[in-house]
Symmetry: C2
């Protein structure tokens, strides 16, 4: 069949890098934006960490297996994928915790301002963490949440911190990091970028944009596994003065001196908090091997073409679905969302038929396109199945309406 | 040989439960107080989580593999070991983060008081996290650190929160949780107990002591692996009013409603923060199987006897070492510390000979005794080797003085 897309570029039918993943047979996995699949090599690496390192070296593993330097070593590998300077990224905790740290540090840089600006497309936990921080600070800070399109105009001299998720988790809408950061700086505003749906999805240039702080998770496009550790970036120009509000012993200048008083470590090291999650970091470290020799510009090109193809096919063949993502690929991350009044049940019917996306309340079907393992053939097959589900009202089954804990 | 101990009770030469651990040949592992060894079954369970759950079920694992309820399910298994009510313990983050949450929640219960009382035997990260919290609060709170013996007298109506680690990480000195909690309550003080060196080491009765909050790590006596997740306990009488200062989406009343505003979840669920560390929790869950059928009172009896035996043998045969732990077993956790001017080098020499303990600056040799896998034969053999090292000055080698990153 001929594709109705107009772009001249055709993405691979089946990407060569698919063999770097252990994907189940018969599954078209369009949810790597929520949880990336298992990369080949992760299970072996974790097994080695468990048996040879933990089991065999016991406590000595902290030195002999390099566990203590792992958060920085892995951070440097992620730095390369997000345009961060070497030594500016460290791993640990969850994204929520890292948001708290970054915003607390950013606010401390603007003690005379009281507004944190964000948008309604931000992921809720970022907003929740800031709510909690504001209450703890007790200084009358305000979290001002505007529509994504209104962010640029809302950047004023009153704002202390601009906290945005670059790619909207529902719609995939992409913020212009460089432009918003420049405008923020022109008004003396400190920026905190959440890269949850950017890292590994598209080229990011933190250094080039002069971003101040950034955070992200590693279980989506970085394929680190369920609940994989988060990362935090601190611009080198701030790293030796940033205040680590969550001042744990691993961020101390000399953790094993057991000083009674806290002294922050050098640079981004101070953003470490507790004992590093060694086993999870081993899984992540192995997962990052899938990026060897991968060109992020090519990933972006394929991702945009796959998304364009999906949009054009769905709109041609499933007119009851309404596009809920920007049509212009340059304004979008690596996912496409459609609305359907029975979105939840439609997604269950798709999953039952091997097309795995996810659902976000109230009516959004999300489909992530990750060119490392998704090709044009997958897109066409997914739309075939989607059309069968819609045309045959195959979603209209009681069990497809029963909500699970995680939707 | 005859043992110089006076107690009538003899612990097992080799514990029956040793077979529940994968211990390297030729090693006497006396550092389970820092990092517990690998239990049998953990590697298989983690492999299954990686391949069958993550690899095979992908995003569906959150429901089908029970990942989302894992933090409470594992919490309930730990609750049984620390005398906590079912449903009062939840897993996640690191001990440092959980200290911050617990102290912040406790302080919010005493808004008119400004003193946090702790002792100099507390683990530094607990003090550091409170320093950071005080700075974030900016309300002039004071962290008052007294000697362990002075804690009881320092509990006054001025104190908001009493934060103590029950077992001193250096000396093993054991606080009387019930007595100090009762005295604290008589003065309107809220208690936060750190059980890092208690959970799995000795019987703990949080409910019986009417403790308010407790936190702990799971990589020591609970054998969950390097960097295993922490736990937090909130007394059921506080759980529905406690303020979760780190208010992440997993602690929200309805995480998948994606509300713009935070509403705390029911009970201890509100102390969850970010996405749970599924792989690490799987390791921990399998590790907890070693406690099946184990009587904590018997563990305590064996632990005290092993420690007594070690102390009596060392004092008889290595007089240059000075006991740095309470002599009375009822005042001690499950470890014994000795001082030696060349403690660091002595420990390196011991480790080189298969006796693995650890060192805490400036001169403390720590030895943990975990009756699940250490028996009287190990104690005698360890002391034989210690005596050889001391008598032959075998520690006097340049490489034994070279400090590693982790000491």
């Amino acid at each position: 069949m001929s594709d109705p897309q107009t772009s001249g570029y055709s993405p691979p039918e089946t990407p060569a890098t698919r063999t770097r993943f252990d994907l189940p047979d018969g599954v078209i996995y369009l949810d790597g934006n929520s949880l990336g699949p298992l990369p080949v090599g992760v299970a072996d690496r974790v097994a080695r960490t468990l048996t040879a390192e933990w089991g065999g070296q016991l406590i000595r593993g902290w030195n002999s297996a390099g566990w203590m330097v792992q958060p920085r070593r892995v951070g440097d590998r992620i730095a390369r994928l997000i345009g961060a300077e070497p030594g500016s990224v460290v791993m640990g905790d969850t994204l929520s915790i890292k948001v708290y740290q970054a915003v607390a540090a950013a606010l401390a840089m603007r003690p005379d301002r009281r507004v944190i600006l964000s948008d309604s497309g931000n992921f809720p936990t970022d907003l929740y963490m800031v709510e909690g921080l504001i209450e703890t600070l007790g200084q009358g800070h305000t979290l001002r949440v505007v529509e994504p399109e209104a962010v640029a105009d809302a950047i004023t001299d009153e704002v202390a911190v601009l906290m945005l998720t670059q790619v909207d988790y529902r719609s995939g809408r992409l913020h212009d990091m460089a432009a918003l950061t420049a405008k923020a700086h022109a008004h003396g505003v400190v920026t905190v970028w959440d890269l949850a749906h950017s890292a590994g999805a598209l080229p990011v240039d933190l250094a080039g944009a002069r971003a101040d702080f950034a955070v992200g998770c590693t279980y989506k496009y970085l394929n680190g596994g369920p609940g994989a550790p988060a990362f935090i970036y601190v611009a080198p120009r701030h790293a030796d003065s940033a205040r680590p509000a969550l001042s744990g012993w691993m961020g101390h200048a000399a953790p094993f001196a057991f000083d009674p008083a806290y002294r922050p470590g050098e640079g981004v090291e101070r953003m470490r908090v507790g004992t590093p999650p060694v086993i999870a970091l081993a899984a992540l470290e192995a997962a990052l091997d899938v990026w060897d020799g991968v060109d992020m510009a090519q990933i972006r090109r394929d991702s945009m073409a796959l998304c364009d193809l999906f949009i054009s096919l769905v709109e041609a063949r499933c007119p009851t679905l309404t596009l809920a993502s920007p049509r212009d690929g340059s304004q979008r991350g690596s996912q496409v969302s459609f609305r359907h009044p029975q979105g939840y049940a439609v997604m269950q019917a798709l999953i039952d038929r091997g097309v795995i996306g996810d659902f976000r309340a109230p009516d959004v079907l999300r489909f992530g396109f990750t060119p490392l393992y998704i090709g044009a053939a997958d897109v066409r097959r997914a739309v075939d199945i989607l059309q069968q589900v819609i045309d045959g009202a195959l979603w209209d089954r009681p069990d497809y309406h029963k909500k699970a804990i995680v939707t």
